[in-house]
Amino acid sequence: MAITSTSGRRPWTFYALAAFFGAYVLFLYGPMLCIYVLSFSGPQGGLSFPMRGFSLHWFRQLIDQGDTGDLVGAISRSLPLALVVMVITVVVCFAAGMAFRTRFPGSGVLFALVVASLVAPGYVLGIGIGLMFQLLGWEPTWYTSALGAQLSWTLPFGLLIMFAIFGRFSRSYEEAARDLGARPLQSLRLVVVPILLPGIIAVALFGFTLSYDEFARTLQSVGSNNTLPIEIWSMTQNVTSPSIYALGTVTTAVSFVVIGVALGAIALIQRRRAAGIAMRRA
């Protein structure tokens, strides 16, 4: 009774949790905000406050490639890599989610093998992949060894999300489709995928952002041409200007655009469904 708002007094746990949340927000957004703000400082700006002037100077520096690294090249590798990882993650995890609904011989062992990759130290795994390629005499590149390294991270993640999605998906939808004469592919195309589409987009989003941000596994397996996070990291080793902050602002913006596109796609699908229904009503 004392917990209800009618009494007017909140329990002490409310204040403890509120303080904790406040600290969380401060630690998450405070540093990010500092970086975004400083990235807009003037040509005389430094790496710390106080801010000197206001300009887009450091963003221009990024493109001019003066003392910064090969950013355009890094993005031109990171984006297609993230897209490929996304597609493979969605397709493989969806198929695995379908398969894992029934227990089959060895399904427990297989699941453990896949999920073990989540607890394996990513950095060590990356070194191992680099070593393996060296041993086999193959050249490590972002589209071979780094792709494999990133999939070892996104696949178990995607699989766990797929399990949650399929856990709420009733088998009776497929049985109903079959009962009504649908062949397996029709059932998949007309029933299973449309019902699960929001979850599938969520897995795609995860696959993309996990790849686009991936560092530990990629560092030792990417070869000579860096992906964006590695390029940023190497810049922090030798670039001492706010252009590093400008880069942080740009990559965050890209991430937000990707998330926005994904959420927009979900909203569009729902609106189109509603519109389609309205159209048929007319």
């Binding site: 009733s170 009776s172 939808y173 049985e175 109903a176 489709a177 079959r178 009962d179 009504l180 004469g181 649908a182 062949r183 029709q186 007309l190 029933v191 449309p194 019902i195 469904r273 229904i277 309205a278 048929r280 009503r281």
Partner: protein, 374 residues
């Protein structure tokens, strides 16, 4: 290619469609569980059959095998004389209404109903026209553009029914169709199901665990337990002439008693029950050996107040009195076990009994029914 049969065409040919015969049907799961254990059943064409039993009795598994969503381990399923085991549902001429309806949540009522035509490649205009015709049949025209999530339980059930009957099945299989509805809707929808069955003239096979639901709609009630059939008969026969103590107890409305045969002559046996009660029971033409234990059932609503010690009566202590509107349920604790009397409301209040007091109820010999099987 399309093996479904137009029920109207079969009806014109003379016989109603949808004769179902189960022969030695067994379902054994890989872990060794025997879900259905040798079911033999003949369901007449164009009839309403209820598979009735507690959960785990094998009724849903039997239904799913007829539907083609589960393959029997042994036995045959004949629909209009042809063995359909191994065939997909549409080729069998069956359609199923799922327990939770399984309406596709992303499709409108109309697209749900038209689904079976869509996967068969029927053009959009034609399939929607046909869907609208069936939607009208279930009186949902005003809601045809809604999504299932925007419908009430009863409306969803009608969509499920429309989606199933648009395939023109010979046999409609209904898995606990009323369990998701509240009491009021349940009574309404079961009447609608029965009316729809008579209108279509096809066979309905309806799985339920509710006795009153089964006897209300079914031409044939099949009582199942432990993977087998205990009794299959008309609703009235199941209710008034159960074969076994199990069926009598499961259907309710009966007191199950037993006694040891003392004499047996001319189709009538005298029995001695627990506590020395004497019973007179009409038996078959064959005499019964003295000393054998015979079970019989007495309808709860056919007993009347009696004097202590009279033949065909039970005396016991009143343990519970429940007012039920049209009658009063009086439960006695007697040496023979619990005995329940449904006393007419008016009669009860002319001579009420007090909790804890002693009361006697008796019956005419013809109201007792011998239970012939275990």
């Amino acid at each position: 290619m399309d093996a479904t049969v137009d029920p109207a065409a079969v009806a014109r040919a003379g016989a109603a469609p949808g004769a179902v015969e189960l022969a030695g049907l067994v379902k054994r799961y890989p872990n060794g569980t025997l879900a259905v254990d040798g079911v033999n059943l003949r369901i007449p064409p164009g009839s309403y059959c209820c598979l009735l039993g507690p959960s785990g009795c094998g009724k849903t598994t039997t239904l799913r095998m007829i539907a083609g969503h589960e393959e029997p381990s042994e036995g045959e399923i004949l629909i209009d004389g042809a063995n359909v085991v191994g065939q997909p549902p549409r080729a069998r001429g069956t359609a199923m209404m799922f327990q939770s309806y399984a309406l596709f949540p992303h499709l409108s009522v109309r697209d749900n109903v038209a689904f079976s035509l869509r996967v068969r490649g029927v053009g959009r205009a034609e399939r929607l026209r046909e869907a609208d015709r069936v939607i009208e049949q279930v009186q949902l025209t005003a809601l045809a553009t809604r999504l299932p999530g925007q419908l009430s339980g009863g409306q969803q059930q009608r969509v499920a029914l429309a989606r199933a009957i648009i395939t023109r099945p010979r046999v409609l299989l209904l898995d606990e169709p009323l369990s998701a509805l509240d009491e009021f809707l349940r009574l309404q929808m079961r009447a609608e199901l029965k009316a729809m069955q008579q209108q279509l003239g096809i066979t309905f096979i309806h799985v339920t665990h509710t006795q009153l639901e089964a006897v209300a709609v079914a031409d044939q009630v099949v009582v199942m337990a432990d993977g087998g059939i205990r009794q299959a008969a008309t609703a009235r026969a199941i209710y008034t002439q159960p074969d076994s103590a199990y069926v009598a107890r499961f259907m309710g409305g009966q007191n199950v008693l037993s006694g040891v045969v003392e004499t047996s002559e001319g189709g009538i046996a005298t029995l001695r029950g627990p506590g020395g009660a004497g019973y007179v029971l009409r038996i078959g033409t064959q005499a019964m050996p003295v000393g054998r234990t015979v079970a019989f059932a007495v309808r709860r609503d056919r007993v009347r107040p009696a004097t202590d010690g009279a033949p065909n009566s039970i005396t016991g202590q009143v343990r519970a009195v429940e007012y039920q509107g049209t009658f009063v349920k009086v439960t006695l604790v007697a040496p023979a076990g619990d005995f329940v009397a449904y006393v007419d409301e008016g009669a009860y209040f002319r001579a009420p009994v007090a909790l804890g007091s002693t009361a006697s109820f008796g019956w005419d010999m013809d109201e007792a029914h011998q239970l012939t099987t275990e």
